[in-house]
């Protein structure tokens, strides 16, 4: 497997702590009235495209960002230890949602180095559903969920609660 594997031991160690934290959140959210959301899927189906058992963490250089619907795509080049460069495509949120959250064309400039966490495509190709992007200075851009099993590193806001 060419992908850079995440540290699964870290994931296991933090699982019990996360379970406790999650329980607290469930209790908090359940206080009062639990008005469930109307049944509606957010297209597209993650499980059809990506493999939850293939978490990835990639360090690469931004080649371009495609501001397209229904999802944005960040293209990066990842240098392997043997010097070979691999092209990866990372799926991000829809442009209108990102834009209304303050993202701009300048948020991910070409040529900068980032670390991307996410889940690889089921077909094993170099595509992934993006979760978080970390810049060289440690600043973090949330493409998706925190707390989906990624190792704790103190940068995730859920860890500071």
């Amino acid at each position: 497997m060419r992908r850079t594997a995440m540290n699964h031991e870290d994931t296991k160690r933090t699982r019990s702590k996360k379970a406790l934290r999650g329980l607290r959140r469930v209790v908090l959210a359940s206080v009062g009235i639990g008005l469930a959301a109307a049944p509606l899927h957010a297209h597209h189906a993650f499980a059809a495209e990506f493999d939850a058992n293939r978490p990835i963490k990639l360090r690469g250089t931004v080649v371009k960002m495609e501001w397209i619907n229904p999802h944005t795509w960040i293209h990066i080049e990842v240098k392997q230890p043997n010097g070979r460069v691999e092209a990866w495509a990372i799926e991000g949120g829809p442009p209108n949602a990102l834009f209304r959250r303050g993202f701009s064309r300048n948020s991910l400039p070409t040529g900068i180095e980032i670390v991307v966490e996410g889940f690889q495509a089921k077909d094993g190709s170099r595509r992934a559903n993006g979760r978080d992007v970390t810049f060289g200075d440690g600043k973090r851009l949330f493409l998706g969920s925190s707390g989906t099993g990624a190792p704790r590193d103190g940068l995730d806001p859920t860890e500071r609660r």
Binding site: L23, H41, P157
Partner: protein
């Protein structure tokens, strides 16, 4: 036949036009409906449903149509907390979804970050958007209920053997006209533009468009994905009747209640009750899916002047279609190689 059905749906829509749970026009008694230069009630602007009311009544509220003041205050506090949590980058139970620890992926995959939430949701007195039937539940036929169960079970699971297998939304087509005015997780804005004799509605997600003649004309004979809408003014209310929908029930739909069939008829009533609010009421009848017509009622909020609708050229970037078909093929390969 079609006329008879419309009369029936119209009657149900009329009977269901009661006092709204949420309607609280500002400066009651002094407010008058704004009008266009040619004298029609003015509905123009960018609008969005911003309520926190579920479509169907949750079991916990069975037999209750409205919340108490305490419940409203409690729910409002939770909504505000969740909106703040969302902005802070929290997910899962902290924003009203399934707990991440309980379900790291399912229900949290395309989490709130992936969606266009807009302003914090508002809490209203009603316990469901469905106001008729009075139990607040969609009156599915037994067959449609089975279809809904099957559709929910196959979402994200497949089989995905053809481009016809993903639902109509994943195919970048539409989620149908039924939910257009109040849903759209990747773009729930609707722009209403009027000209003499026409009301046009542009829905952000899928860029669905409806050009509605409002001079009381008759329906045409062409069946379309979003049907054929004809409108008229009843006092201050725009009434839109939609029929001539293509039968697409053989396609997958994210939710069966939004699916299109030749027997689907919809009556919508738009009444501007305040500068920033339209009372929206929709009555849906389709013997192919429902045992009886149902009506939902909700307030739709006007967004600030200058709010823009963005392009949603979904096909342009629908890499998901290729991804899920190749993922669908990879799955049997992986299963075969592990045997």
């Amino acid at each position: 036949m079609a006329i008879r059905r419309f009369v029936m749906v119209g009657l149900v829509a009329l009977l269901a036009t009661g006092c709204s749970f949420w309607s609280t026009p500002t400066a009651e008694g002094t407010w008058t409906t704004p009008r266009t230069a040619w004298g029609d009630p003015d509905l123009q602007g960018v609008w969005r449903y911003e309520g926190a009311v579920p479509l169907e009544r949750p079991k916990a509220f069975a037999g209750r149509e409205s919340l108490t003041d305490e419940e409203i205050a409690d729910r409002d506090r939770i909504e505000k907390e969740q909106a703040a949590n969302r902005l802070a980058g929290l997910e899962g139970a902290a924003v009203g979804r399934r707990s991440i620890d309980e379900s790291p992926i399912r229900g949290n995959e395309y989490n709130s970050f992936w969606q266009d939430h807009g302003r914090p949701r508002r809490v209203f007195r009603q316990t469901s958007l469905v106001v008729d039937p009075r139990d607040g539940l969609l009156p599915y036929t037994p067959e449609a209920r089975k279809a809904e169960t099957r559709a929910q079970a196959r979402y994200g699971v497949g089989p995905y053997e053809s481009y016809l297998d993903p639902d109509t939304g994943e195919r970048c087509l539409t989620d149908g006209v039924t939910a257009m005015m109040w849903q759209g997780p990747n773009g729930g804005h609707n722009m209403i533009v009027q000209s003499p004799g026409y009301v046009t509605i542009l829905h952000e997600e899928y860029r669905d468009r409806r050009i509605i003649p409002v001079n009381g004309g008759s329906h045409g004979a062409v069946r379309q994905w979003l049907g054929d809408s004809v409108g008229r003014w009843e006092g201050e209310t725009l009434v839109v009747e939609t029929t001539n929908v293509l039968d697409r029930t053989n396609y997958e739909w994210a939710n069966i209640w939004t699916r299109a069939s030749e027997t689907l008829t919809i009556v919508e009533r738009f009444t501007r009750v305040a500068d920033d609010t339209i009372d929206y009421r929709i009555t849906v009848d389709d013997p192919a899916t429902f045992a009886q017509p149902w009506t939902a009622n909700m307030p739709i909020s006007r967004l600030p002047e200058g709010t823009r609708i963005y392009e949603y050229a979904c096909h342009e970037g629908n890499y998901a279609m290729a991804n899920l078909l190749s993922g669908g093929r990879a799955q049997p390969r992986a299963q075969a190689s592990s045997k």
